[in-house]
Amino acid sequence: MSRILILGATSPIARTLAWEFAGCGDELYLAGRDREEIQRLAADITIRFGTACQTHYLNALDFQSHPAFIESVLAQLEPLDGVVFAIGHTGDQPGESMDPALALRIVEINYTSAVSLLAPLANYFEEQGRGFLMGISSVAGDRGRRSNYAYGASKGALSLYLEGLRHRLDRHGVIVLTLKVGFVDTSMTYGKKGLFLVASPEKVARLAYAIRGKPGVHYFPRFWRFIMLMIRFIPERLFNRMDL
């Protein structure tokens, strides 16, 4: 029986991942900004799986509140066995990258909050000498594209940060995973045309749960690894003329 903290628990992927953990008997701590929704999720999990599930309000952008939040979590849930970082602004409105205020917000929610929350947690895990840190990133972070470069950059930065954590924590027995997710069937993609390889959140959650012991970068679905490899290979002069 493990104790897992999920940051940003109201996202569809986080919700289905919470079900995977609870379904295997794990005790959960759900943190999110929508107080009512995380309470509903916790009630659902407790009824459905009979496992303990606590909640805590967390505002990703309120960096000042993070130390107290972490302290509170550790007081309730020590020893902590794993953390899932699922906080993310979806970044699906056109022109978002071009609006300075919106672009800043995306970066702060997707990346800066990760640093603020994961830095102290990384220290905790290093001292403990075991556990996992799972970050939900995106294939969009593999290359800058005109359509969503603020979002892509924030996810790319997140992936790089997790890579650094992995380099640091590997010798201490702590597992750091980067999940690079492609298109997932959620409200973010519902109704969008021209999508392919859209995975169900259940499938993503099942696979994420299965690989929680394997450090490294994992693409979902796996095919994306090859797609992004090819996309990264395209020289900029050619890429800039493309409409990808």
């Binding site: 509903r40 009630a43 009824i47 519902y190």
Partner: protein
Amino acid sequence: MFVERKLNGWGRYSSSWGRVYRPEKLALAASIIKFQEELSFVGRGQGRSYGDAALNLDQGLVLTQRLNRFLSFDPATGCLECEAGVTLEEILTVFVPRGWFLPVTPGTKFASIGGCVACDVHGKNHHKDGSLGNSIEAIEVLQGQGEVVRCSPVEQPEFFWATVGGMGLTGLIVAVKLRLRPIETAYIKVDYERAGNLEEAVGLMEEGAAGYDYSVAWMDCVAGGSSLGRSLLIRGNHAGRSELRPGLAASPLNAPSRSSINLPVDLPAFTLNPLSLRVFNGLYFGHSSRVKNSVVLDYDRFFYPLDTVRQWNRMYGSRGFLQYQCVIPAENSLAGLTAILKQLHRNRCTSFLGVLKRFGRGNGYLSFPLEGFTLSLDFPMRGDRLLTCLEQVDDLVIRHGGRVYLAKDARLSPRSFRQMYPDFPRWQQIKREVDPSDRFSSDLSRRLELTA
């Protein structure tokens, strides 16, 4: 975000293009309905209604699939509150192992609880326990301005009973509180008995009503003459722990899960024709011994035989099928059902399987059941001949004081509907009060002119 898609009724005879929304949580469902002012909406759970109840041509639909949270459960009373998108299967998976069962269940577990309330579904236990509406403590319904209204048999009872069986037309059902029933085991003890004809079947069902929780008859609709309506009665009770053999009694609440097979393609239409039906029915009804008692079945096999083949509706081919279910009041049941079966024979409209049940008192407004006998029939869709035949059956049903089940209907006329549901004017009044600008409508409501 939304998807413009073509949706079907389960019978795949009805279909239409609509704008489908799939909110991840209740707050989003409310804002969709509130801000898309130019659209009317209908809720759609798992799309298990056979006709056009969950279709809305060129208008909006709200898929409740992601609104599937359990909200609260009281182990002292068995009261479960959950969002409307929760399926019966989810409830069973979670609660049977804890010793609770659905108070009423239709023939499939892959329906949403919200949809079941909107159709006021019934099961094999109506004569004892009524329909689902009779086990509902409260419902929460989303209205046109995005506000949620809570109603129950004591709090806004008129609105409650207009919503139960109201086909989603009084608003989007978003949460349901129901009373589960306690069970000792996940098994049913079943008695089988053959009845030589309709009269014998009806007689046996009446006699045995008190002794069985669940009672149904599978009817051979092809046999005629003195064997008209010959049936296999299948009746059972929840098995107590002592009634299980030691192997099962060790873990009485864990029923074996059946692997399901998918029917991914449509079978060609000639698979089900009058000749093959006659052979099937002859085999099925001819060779079994007349009575077989005390067979212990797990609940899944007893209540959901068709669910094993997912997409079983594809068996009927791409033209689809029509489901017709009617109820005839007790005093006319025998005469009415005999007349209907004979009419079908005259028109050579063959039904694959007929299912006969006994109903107790009903709930009024647009709820289907009333005290009497109900018969469900499946017809492969073969063209206008079938539609004409069913209109004639409608007239017989009306003449005998009965009605047709809207959850299965795809072709009833507005005129026949008004004759079948005398409570309709009162229901329409409530509908006008709660939804004056028709924010909630469906292909069914337009076909039957419910909101004209």
